[in-house]
Symmetry: C2
Subunit: 229 residues, 2 copies
DNA sequence: TCCAAAACAGGATGATCATCCTGTTTATAA
DNA sequence: TTATAAACAGGATGATCATCCTGTTTTGGA
């Protein structure tokens, strides 16, 4: 009744077939990513995925011999890309680490409030369900967490080379940022309310005295004073 | 080979039976809690639970008519109790909110390092898998998050009535604390390394100038200065 | 002692699921 | 054109799973 059946590109009823391996693989990954995120890995059946993607069992098995292989592809191609697109790239483009973090938090909060539904952090969603289930899952997910943290820490170090963020430990700042975001998304998902994201961002900024528009030298003096115990 | 079969209290092979509804219910909950946490809800089969608990299908169905009812009981009785025991009670007994938070972080980190295995936060583990799956699950889990946050915020307010924590927003502090802990546990679980908990705790403390042993008045002055923009 | 309800035993059932297997069609290179 | 492998179709299969059902034992009150 409700589920739309995905039709192949051409709606001709003829028996003509056009091989499109990349397209078919992409469609399967699209559907799998969506289902793994909203229903979870174990709650997603390959039958449902096949129906949603308009793909037969033979095709699915050809591209992804097992369900685990499919999930691994979702993690390595889609989840990693999501972290890259929503976090790493915007952060690297930002004028500073702190402003980048602030921008990401607010962008995500705004997006969630607009669509009125919180699906959670793609990485954390799968990490919780799959980290203990399989060593391959775990290492793939851990790699993404690690890259995320390192990108933030690198940005802080970059700020420091420009004369800012004197009193900040880059790795510590990165760990706390990722943790606060992950935990805030977890709460936002459970409460179905993105407000906690903004609240956590304020808490994150409240502790640190650095403000946005100030030049590096002034920022540095303020930070130095605080660092002296 | 590996799985021990739980035997009933008496190892007599006689057909004598002793009704023990509370004990049987407790044993089922013990096994279900463990399995839901380590394998997840969907990956746990009632057959496995029955075998692990040494319980028949009839007995299981008598106490928990559906798998959902069992999970709801685990959430409301066990997960809530875990949050109460490891967070709320220690926090309320602590001399201040900040010291309580610090103590919990370090106690959990030490415990995880001792047992050499990170199973994750009981609440977050189930929240990620079940929040979007069912409205009853979601509201039960959201209630626990809410109580957790409120207990922390109340402790901050208590500190403020005693003259401390002048510049801290209680709800903001609580949200950030829960988020940082939840996210840190998520990373710790994925990396199987509790070190990130200590790192996040340091990041949490680094921002705020309040130190532990100082009397309220001195703390207050320092905080005031920072609050004035 | 007796009876009704609770507590428990254990198998039946129908549905679901991931994987596999045998073919058929399409693309590619020789 | 032809041979070969990739791409895809679609059903078979065996295992697993949650629930249900019938029957037996135990318990507690009348």
């Amino acid at each position: 009744m409700s589920g739309e059946i995905a039709t192949r590109s051409g709606s001709r009823s003829s028996k003509r077939r056009t091989n499109d391996p990349e397209g078919m693989r992409r469609r399967v990954l699209d559907v799998a990513e969506d289902s793994f995120q909203t229903r979870g890995y174990h709650a997603s059946s390959l039958g449902d995925l096949m129906a949603a993607a308009g793909v037969t069992g033979g095709a699915l098995h050809h591209h992804f011999p097992t369900k685990k292989a499919l999930a691994l592809a979702v993690i390595e191609e889609r989840v990693a890309a999501a972290v890259q697109d929503t976090w790493i790239a915007p952060l690297q483009a930002a004028p500073s680490a702190r402003e980048g973090v602030r921008a990401v938090f607010e962008a995500v909060a705004a997006e969630l409030e607009q669509q009125g539904f919180v699906r959670g952090c793609p990485l954390n969603n799968l990490a919780h369900e799959l980290s203990l289930a399989d060593a391959d899952f775990r290492s793939a997910l851990a790699r993404i967490f690690s890259g995320w943290r390192q990108a933030i820490a690198d940005k802080v170090r970059e700020d420091q080379e420009m004369g800012g963020e004197g009193g900040t430990d880059p790795d510590r700042f990165a760990a706390l940022t990722v943790a606060a975001y992950s935990g805030a998304m977890s709460m936002a998902k459970t409460a179905q309310d993105a407000g906690v994201l903004r609240e956590c961002l304020k808490g994150l900024e409240e502790g640190s005295p650095s403000q946005s528009g100030l030049p590096a030298k002034r920022r540095r003096r303020v930070l130095r004073r605080q660092t002296i115990r």
